[in-house]
Symmetry: C2
Amino acid sequence: MTKIVECVPNFSEGRREEVVGAIADAARRIEGVRVLDVEMDASHNRAVVTLVGGPENVKQAAFACASKAVELIDLNKHTGEHPRVGAVDVIPFVPISEVEMKDCVELAMSLGQEIAEKLGVPVYLYEEAATRPDRKNLAKVRRGQFEGLREEIKTNPERAPDFGPSELHPTAGAVVVGAREPLIAYNINLGTGDVSIAKSIAKAVREKDGGLKHVKALGFETDKEDVVQVSMNLVNYKETPIFVVFDAVRSHADKHGVPVVGSEIIGLVPQDALVDTAEYYLKIQDFSKSQILEYKLRE
Amino acid sequence: MTKIVECVPNFSEGRREEVVGAIADAARRIEGVRVLDVEMDASHNRAVVTLVGGPENVKQAAFACASKAVELIDLNKHTGEHPRVGAVDVIPFVPISEVEMKDCVELAMSLGQEIAEKLGVPVYLYEEAATRPDRKNLAKVRRGQFEGLREEIKTNPERAPDFGPSELHPTAGAVVVGAREPLIAYNINLGTGDVSIAKSIAKAVREKDGGLKHVKALGFETDKEDVVQVSMNLVNYKETPIFVVFDAVRSHADKHGVPVVGSEIIGLVPQDALVDTAEYYLKIQDFSKSQILEYKLRE
């Protein structure tokens, strides 16, 4: 069976293509790793690279990227809309196949240590890899950003990193390394022109307002006059499966007398999320993933 | 993207383990092929071998098996419950991944020719590979079995093979080679002790009695007193998807006032069948299989 880990490092550079290219190339040189996607955003001045492969290979590739970014990015010259504390800002590991969350936490800790030791950059652990509850939330870890943390780290022991020196790297800042579940971008379309219904359902289902755990949701208009959308991020499809979200939105829509006319998955989705959905609706009992022919072939 | 074909040759030997072992080993020696399963049935005196791999590799493995079976099995000494015309009785090719039915038809024709030429055994093409409508049905091709066909082939031009000599091989008989869709063995459990309801629903949904195309169904009791089962073979899940079958059985069960308490997939299922099911129930629009992370990785 093939172990697959995803890693989605974020870099504080979204304008100079040659820099982002060099970072992605550093990953491409590692055997057993594929660079699935490279996205640059000029206004955020940020790039997101998606790596997949075997756990150790992906860790190696993440280190290679980080090393290159520390070399090429100077945060003192960085401006952009997106908050950041580091040249390599965030490195989450994501379990995809035949890998547990605890394996990804171990990868995060091991990579964090390596970055601190070899690159001299302080490392904070976040989300599932967090060493204390207040560091689960990335926004809290990044509080004050590069410029603020640079001062605070010297005086406030609460801001001490998990690994590495107690001061920021002069040009590369700090790195936040962690582990999280795969994120599914999932939108449900409702057959009405009334965006207030989409907004009301989004509010009803999102965690922030007491809805479903691990669901972020907003209501939007679409380019079709008679269709509005509940646009969601499912940040832990194992604990709150996609079918639970679909059924919840449909129930709310029913209550509003509005039909669900369709849904969309944006970007990638782990196979498990779809297989679990089929199992649920077909009420399949005692199913083992090794019954999936393609799965058995990979064994 | 990896092309995967399945091949499920049936051999007229279900008692001598060393013979079946030698046949399976012949396939194992072919690179790029995996022997997923070997099943022997003593009362049927028949073995079923499941091969998967790349199209050409699987064809080569099927020929290696056939060659070994022709060498080791003498149909004149064969008795068993299962109808048969050959030492190698049937060889169906099944498209699994990135392969079309027409590719499997070509494999069947090419293997048929090779068997006829190199082994001197007449070959009939059946199902999707059939060259005439009356040969689609395996039972019709096998009419009279080895002993009957041995005589009839000499005098009745209707029984002339597609490839090879116009008389049966003295010990190996004939081979029926073809192509078909993957078969899904799917059972739905109903929360009642009344087996007549399972039988009535089986009759309502099966093709033979005017129900759903490509569905074979029977009603059974189970080992639980308050559960009966509609036991089905879905012989073309692309044309009659598993969710259509589930919904049909559920509707009939509703009409009887009986709940669907669960379902089971027996053995292997192609990934597509489950992904299509998730798409259907979640009403997903514009989905591409390349959005499945594991799929993208295999590209």
